[in-house]
């Protein structure tokens, strides 16, 4: 099914054998350390893939006709991986949420204690779910908008499986206590090096595919994917520079110290939000929204403005995570200023998206998939407004360290990131598997409401708890003493922690419904065999129709 040529199968076998040897070396060198466990995992992972490769190794050469079609096999596997990580990561999220309400839920084990599963949640959803969704859709979008096949057949698989190996090592590491403690960059040095290799391959593949494009212009979605790939590479390398105890130890120390480390970390952290959780998903928005709504993007100018605004402004904003800390004052002020200015390009994107729907509102009413995308744009607008607001120093003095931040995060993560992903998947799946539509429109509708209600419960609970806690911390009695002990403020949180766990559970159930629906769509026999030339590059454009699209 992979359509690999003999040469590509050989290359795959060589790479996997090299990886297996690396795994053995890690296992041997780190046998008294957790590194050894990861070595064994690398070994098993490469052996499993080798087995898959060999089981189809002696088939006939694929026909050259394949080169006239898009290469969609990695996309199909990517959809499955995205859904797997979505359910896994959100399950851990619900579990973590429940632990804050009922601390016994870690069953007194080390691996399941809150501090270890929390990064498993964040990496699981951001990298596992979000990252796989980005890679998968980027393979789809770059081919369609360039009207070109992926540049080769080996690197897409390397990127996909290599990235998932990174996720596996990272997440399993947290359960084992392997972490750098840097938020969203917890994975240790060897996983980080591996990710660099994967990422460079991804970059080269992307650029080579763009070079094959039959469109003179690079479509706007690709600008965002490019920014995502390039900037994430820069951030990842700089923030993860570290010295390990030895090559036989998982543990390392970052080269950055104290206040410099704080700035590097949040320059990274905030731009992980910007270029991982925003730019890449805006790329999805710019392709799947016009595609699904069958309308061209409202304004090309706004697209340009918001793209460069986001690329330039975001990188200044990280210091808003460090208000009133030991970071020099002028950096805090720069961060605040740019965060507020960031609202302009952010709302330009959100507005551009919503205005694109003008004239298609009846579709939004009838089509839950389009409604997912519309809601995502709405929540994008909401969370960027909230973010700019939270970046203002006096507001941040209240919100920082409280659940308000967590509420903001999940307005973005559930409302924006997850909803745009599901909207995109519901558009992509029938197209890739050549089905007329999803197995069940009713289930998409059910998912939509579960997701929306779940998000609202989650976000409102955290707004309440965050603001209440922030206010309680600073409440003074008339004789100028603090009124509430820390414990009083914790007690006030419990009802909200329970509500949040419930909202998250609804969202998780929605994701399971989605997985079921997609599975049934894939399994259903394609009703009408679409004629073969449907699949030819020429026919699949982001925007069909007479009106030339502004961004092409």
């Amino acid at each position: 099914m992979m359509q690999l040529t003999t040469g590509e199968r050989q290359l795959g076998a060589i790479v996997l054998i090299a990886l297996a040897i690396l795994g053995i070396a890690m296992a041997a060198a780190g046998r008294t350390d957790v590194l050894g466990i990861h070595g064994a995992m690398v070994l098993l992972y490469s052996l499993a893939l080798l087995f898959l490769l060999f089981s189809s190794a002696f088939g006939p050469e694929p026909s050259p006709a394949r080169l006239t079609r898009y290469y969609d096999d990695p996309i199909k596997v990517g959809v499955g991986l995205t859904l797997f990580w979505a359910i896994f990561g959100m399950f851990i999220g619900v579990w973590a949420a429940a632990q804050l309400a009922w601390p016994i839920l870690n069953f007194d084990t080390s691996w399941a204690s809150f501090g270890r599963i929390r990064p498993a949640h964040t990496s699981g959803v951001i990298f596992g779910f979000g990252g796989n969704a980005l890679i998968t859709t980027s393979f789809h979008v770059v081919q369609r908008t360039s009207r070109a096949r992926l540049a080769d057949q080996f690197s897409p698989w390397f990127v996909l499986f290599g990235f998932n190996l990174f996720c596996l090592i990272a997440v399993s590491g947290y359960f084992l206590g392997v972490t750098q403690s840097k938020e969203y960059a917890e994975a240790e040095w060897y996983a980080d090096i591996w990710l660099v290799i994967v990422w460079v391959t991804y970059f080269v593949l992307y650029v080579r595919t763009l070079a094959l494009r039959k469109e003179p212009h690079i479509y706007v979605a690709n600008w965002y994917y490019m920014a995502f790939i390039i900037v994430v590479a820069i951030l990842h390398i700089v923030n993860n520079l570290a010295v390990p105890l030895s090559f036989a130890h998982a543990k390392s120390y970052t080269i950055w110290a104290g206040v410099q480390d704080s700035m590097v970390q949040w320059w990274y952290g905030h731009n992980a939000v910007a270029f991982f959780l925003t730019a890449g998903f805006l790329a999805m928005l710019y392709y799947y929204l016009p595609k699904r709504a069958e309308r061209p993007i409202f304004s090309y100018r706004l697209s340009i403005l918001s793209f460069w605004g986001i690329t330039f402004f975001y990188m200044w904003a990280g210091s808003h995570h460090l208000h009133y800390t030991a970071l020099p004052h002028w950096v805090q002020n720069l961060g605040m200023t740019f965060s507020v200015m960031l609202l302009v390009p952010s709302w330009a994107s959100a507005g551009n998206a919503l205005l694109t729907l003008n004239g298609a509102w009846h579709k939004v009413r009838d089509d839950a998939t389009l409604r997912f995308i519309m809601m995502a744009a709405f929540f994008y607008g909401l969370s960027t407004f909230e973010g700019s607001f939270l970046a203002i120093r006096p507001v941040n003095s209240l919100s920082h360290y409280t659940d308000w931040t967590v509420g903001h995060v999940h307005a973005g993560a559930l409302g924006w990131v997850a909803m745009i992903t599901f909207g995109s998947l519901y558009t992509l799946v029938p197209a890739i598997w050549k089905r007329e539509r999803m197995y069940s429109a009713a289930l998409v509708e059910v998912h939509f409401w579960l997701a929306l209600v779940g998000t609202l419960i989650y976000v409102f609970a955290m707004w309440n708890s965050g603001i209440i806690q922030g206010l309680m911390w600073r409440t003074y009695s008339p004789d100028n003493t603090l009124v509430y002990s820390f414990l009083d403020t914790l007690l006030a949180m419990y009802p909200y922690y329970i509500a949040r766990a419930f909202g998250g559970l609804l969202f998780l159930i929605g994701a399971i419904v989605a997985a079921y629906n997609i599975w049934m769509t894939v399994r259903a026999p394609s009703a009408a065999q679409l004629p073969l030339d449907e699949d030819l590059p020429a026919s699949d454009r982001p925007l069909d129709g007479a009106a030339p699209t502004p961004a092409e």
Binding site: G115, Y253, Y314, T402
Partner: protein
Amino acid sequence: MPEVMHRKLERTATGFMLAIIAAASVGGIVEIAPLFTIDDTVEAAPDMRLYTPLELAGRDIYVREGCYACHSQMIRTLRDEVERYGPYSLAVESQYDHPMLWGSKRTGPDLARIGGKYSDFWHVNHLNNPRDVVPESNMPSYRWLGTTPLKLSDLPLALRAQRAVGVPYTDAMIENAARDAYGQAVPDSEQSSGVTERYGEATQISAFDGVTTNVTEMDALVAYLQVLGQLTRAAYENPAAPQQMPDPDD
């Protein structure tokens, strides 16, 4: 005609990527590079001491267990925080922290000045089961720390790696790392005197977990907690500190 220019840019992938790199680099460079002019960014604190090997091991356990996910170590320059937790944190206090553990969420209270606030005994009970001492707490219990022996043999490597990233550990400190960790957790052992010799008289030598027959992860973590906020007195002597700063001795 910016629109026309942009249409040209859209025709070349390389040009477009270079433009992205250029646009994205400015912010980071402007904000990060000046922070390395250490003298302006980090206050001087001549009395600043280094973490002992035992405390460093405790810090690594703090990182491993993800304590930073719920506890900050950064008291902001806000009145209520100073009154609740103590003098606000100075940059110099985390000068040798690789990585910094300022945190971003306070599910539990700030720990920047927790050192000396409670007894070792309290910490051990609290870590074994927080609800034994604070019935309403939602913190996980960490029972296994008291039964897991500390891996002393890795400590010289840890100190050496710390030196590689800029912490001024001496050769003697690196060589004696394992001995010093033992000596700090087993008072009156022959190894104990070396600890104060190398790390200063103020270093706390104690049977942190109450047991002197072996050195456990509990010893290390409690030793670390007890030194938080104690590496230098700079924050208490800071002339810019607000009036209502609590008396450090009470």
